[in-house]
Symmetry: C2
């Protein structure tokens, strides 16, 4: 959590931090600024020093609400003048700006750099900064970065955001179920009173309208995929397809609140009735889901539930990512992932080599066993998101019935 | 435009391209894949060769719809196995993966790298890739990159997306005006039939519901700011504030379509009546807006309309970013910016040193003069988005009345 920044800097022997980039899609910047909309922002920090935001003058009201120490960039380091000084060379002007800021803010020694930007631009920018400032060491971290670690454990404010995200997500899942059940079955298809088939596209339009009503956003398209498409985990569903009875529907729902926090839940539905093979796959997913949920505890290695799930599915005769890496059938992914400002973050419930994380208070993550048989026309997945609160107790953030079969009038 | 990629690679002496990262917020990747949702994607291209997408197995249906050449990453370069090989070192595994792909795809020589990721992660990743492959030259570009240039001119398909974004945005602006006018004025405040004041927050909730209905998204918060707040260009407005008569309201509206293309329009409204100083500032903005619009032509330097606008406002006695860099009063920004998959992209209608761009067919950009006096409690801005089509003709993408005063029943 944010309170760990100084400790993490010390552990990594970092004397300073620098976070670059526009706020859009920049999760580290959003983490520090509460999601404020900022263009070409810069946050810097010395170890034991305050978080300081350099912001554009036009964004001074937005910047003031972040609660960070502020420097008006345009008033202090005017970019028009820097570009004049460097004959219009934007790279040289930016390097000069960054170096001036580091000197003015007392950043010296080993400086960790973070924030989202173009990969090639970051490469030349940081290389050039390192070249003009050989007394500094510009440090990049790949994946297990200081911020990935800080963000991996949520503080109480963040847990509240995640609880609220779960509450609203489940509310909309319920509204969506009711909306579908407000239709009738006819000739194996769900249709409205006028006899028009209800399509996946219409269900998604309904979901979007409810998201807007409740103040949530769809960061990327909701998965509502049916039959064969449900057998390809990230297939989001064919909008033109009518809802059919007796097909597995994977409804994987991951909206984001205005404060930027995600929820993640999946239910598998079969409208009217379910076929035997979908029932069997679903029951297996539910059984291992329940076993995993009952086993979760602070101190347990995060890879363990994945190994337990692979053991279970392999014993039932399914290929898994462990027994057949790269398989497209059976259990084809890892068991879960952390959730926060990113839909996929630390911790990872994966058996991958190098995953030595153990569950801790503040971990918020999904648990999502699934079985996929696209050639046989189905896929199933069950997913809830859970949290270990500060007391180390497991909290369910997704509270929604697991029912596979959803009754439809006339079916 | 995309058809220029080979020419631009030749001009920059690049033998290959590599685009990295998740698709969320990754505009270059979205540009090449039509906005497909992909995690840890990689697009590579040799000069004169095809665009090739390496995608996760779970995303194979999504990948197939991009129309690019495809390689199933999990089947060909399994990350579980790469991590085993590198004892769980994610950086080493990723460098190994990239180098294998480059060899398999025949990428040699000077390789430009693009795509959005963590700045520090990009720095170490590309430095390490360069270290193990000294026969290659890893090239990063800062700002005026090959993709910034390609994206700067829109092809006919993109122009159609931008036209549609403009049509829908103006439709919702009209619905918003009607919604406000469906209220009554009382004691200087706009209120509903029950006598409750209409707040900026309620207007924004209405806007969001209409965005959802029309299939648009709010990438960042709509600006609907009133009085003093309208005098700070990027203040998005106080949600708790009731709409008041006779205050300048800056309504800067920049939604994004499902295909990822933005529109950008601003109107300044004053409900019921306008004060003399708002009228005067608005009339000046409208005059220079009209002059600029009449002057726009292919071949004209993009900095010229900004110089014209500074000349005009300075002659009227206002400080400008040219006469007083860093000013918070008067004309405090540049005249406009390109619009496409980013809300701010090339070309820039700025007088900044180094801006030598001239208008070309395919340029789509905003024109937005404004005057800001927060201490005097107002700001005004007028903005339309326009395009030079392939014939070099100026097309208006924003078609909405400019009226400053919006009548309110009872006012």
């Amino acid at each position: 959590m944010k309170a760990d920044l100084d400790r993490l800097m010390e552990e990594r022997n970092l004397d300073g931090l620098m976070v670059l980039g526009d706020s859009t899609g920049n999760k580290v910047l959003n983490y520090l600024t509460g999601g404020a909309h900022l263009e070409r922002a810069l946050v810097v920090k010395r170890r034991q020093g305050p978080l300081t935001l350099l912001h554009g003058s036009m964004e001074r009201d937005t910047a003031a609400r972040t609660g960070l120490h502020l420097v008006d960039r345009d008033a202090t380091y005017n970019m028009y003048r820097l570009l004049e000084k460097h004959q219009g060379n934007r790279l040289a002007a930016m390097v000069d700006f960054l170096y001036q800021v580091m000197q003015d803010q007392g950043l010296a020694g080993r400086i960790g750099v973070y924030g989202t930007m173009d990969a090639g631009a970051a490469f030349v920018l940081l290389r050039q900064l390192q070249a003009i400032a050989p007394e500094l060491e510009i440090v990049g971290e790949y994946e297990d970065s200081l911020f990935a670690l800080a963000r991996e454990t949520k503080d109480e404010w963040e847990l509240d955001q995640l609880r609220e995200a779960g509450r609203l997500t489940c509310l909309i899942m319920g509204e969506t179920q009711e909306f579908i059940q407000g239709h009738q079955a006819r000739n194996g298809v769900v249709q409205n009173r006028d006899g028009e088939p209800l399509t996946i596209g219409a269900v998604k339009a309904f979901i979007r309208s409810r998201l807007a009503f409740h103040g949530l956003r769809e960061d990327h398209e909701t998965i509502f995929s049916q039959g064969r498409d449900a057998g390809v985990p990230h297939n989001s569903g064919d909008p033109a397809a009518p809802l059919r009875l007796g097909q597995s529907i994977v409804f994987d729902f991951f909206p984001v609140t205005a404060s930027g926090y995600f929820h993640d839940i999946t239910r598998t539905w079969s409208l009217g009735y379910a076929t035997d093979e979908v029932w069997e796959a679903w029951a297996q997913c539910k059984e291992i889901f329940d076993r995993v949920m009952a086993s979760l505890a602070v101190g347990q290695p995060c890879r363990e539930p994945q190994l337990m799930t692979c053991d279970y599915f392999e014993a039932k005769g399914h290929p898994t990512v462990r027994s057949q890496p790269g398989t497209r059938e059976g259990y084809v992914h890892s068991l879960g992932h952390g959730i926060g400002l990113d839909i996929h973050e630390e911790p990872r419930l994966s058996h991958v080599v190098g995953n030595d994380t153990v569950f801790q208070p503040g971990h918020v993550f999904s648990v999502e066993p699934g079985l996929y048989y696209p050639e046989r026309g189905f896929g199933v997945r069950i997913e809830d998101s859970v949290a270990f609160n500060q007391a180390g107790e497991l909290e369910y953030l997704s509270n929604y019935p697991y029912d596979l079969v959803i009754p439809i009038p006339g079916a």
